[in-house]
C-alpha cells in the first residue's frame, strides 16, 4: 500500500472563482454560512475547510471540489 508522507500543502482557487462571479468576500461568506474571516483565511491558505464546507463551496461555485482545491508536496 502506498504511503503519503510529508505535510500536505492544500491550496485553492477560491479568490479566482469568487472574482469571476464578481462576489465580495462577504457575499461568499453569506452564501456558505461562514464568517468573512473564514473566507479570508481560506483564500490566504491559512485555514483548511471541513469536508462539509468544501462541498458547500463546490455547490455555490457549481463545480467539483477538485476544481477548487489542489495540493502540493505529496510524496508517495
Amino acid at each position: 500500500m502506498p504511503r503519503i508522507t510529508g505535510k500536505l500543502s492544500i491550496l485553492n482557487h477560491i479568490a479566482t472563482l469568487r472574482n469571476k462571479k464578481s462576489w465580495t468576500q462577504q457575499d461568499l461568506a453569506d452564501a456558505v454560512e461562514v464568517t468573512r474571516g473564514t473566507i479570508i483565511a481560506l483564500e490566504k491558505g491559512s485555514y483548511n475547510p471541513s469536508l462539509e464546507l468544501a462541498f458547500r463551496l463546490a455547490k455555490v461555485f457549481k463545480t467539483n471540489i477538485d476544481n477548487i482545491f489542489y495540493n502540493e508536496n505529496i510524496h508517495e
Binding site: T35, T38, S46
Partner: protein, 201 residues
Amino acid sequence: MNKTLKLLQNYLLLSFPFVLIPIAISQGYLFSPAILNSNNILLKIITNGLVINLMLWILALAAYLLLLLLSTEVRNKTLARLANLKERDEREEYITGKAARATYLATLSLTLFLLFISMLNVNLSSIEKTAPGQPGHSISLGLGYSVFTKTAEKPEHSELHPIFDTVQYKLSTETILLLMLGWQLVIFNLTARKEQSPRDE
C-alpha cells in the same frame, strides 16, 4: 427561567453604581460624619435604601454565581460572552478549541507554580551572638503544607531575629483566585487573537 435570569442580570448590572455609593460612604470617600449623623429624614431614608439595596445586591450576586455553577445553559450564555468566545462557524470553533487547550496548559503551569510558592518558606534571620565564633545570620529553606490556614507562629529560637520571611508575603486566597481568573481570560483571548487572521473583523 430565562426571564428570571435576565431580570437578575439587569438588576446586578444596573444597580451596581448604587452599590458603590454605600461602600464609598463607609470608607469615608463620600460625605463627612457630621452630615451622616444629622437628623435629616430624607437623608436617612436615602442611606437606608442604599444599604438595603447593597444587601439585596449581594444576595442576588450569590444566587447568580450559584446558577453559573449549577446550570450549563446559564454558563454558556453568560460566561461565553465574558470570555469572548466566538463560535459563529467551524473555523471559530476550531480557534476556540486551540485557545481552550492553550489556556488549560497555561493555567495548569500557573497552578503548579502558585502551589509551590505557597508551600515554600524562606527565612533569613540574624542571630544574637551569645558566644564568640557563632554565625551572625541564618537562612532556612523549607516546604510546608497544611490543609487549614495556619496563623503565624512565634519563632522557636528567641535568639533569631527575622530580617526577611516569606510568610509575610504569602498571597491571600482571594488574590490567587483573582490572578487565576485574569490569567485564564488573558491567555484565552491572546491565543484566539493569534490564531485569527490579522485582517479579520
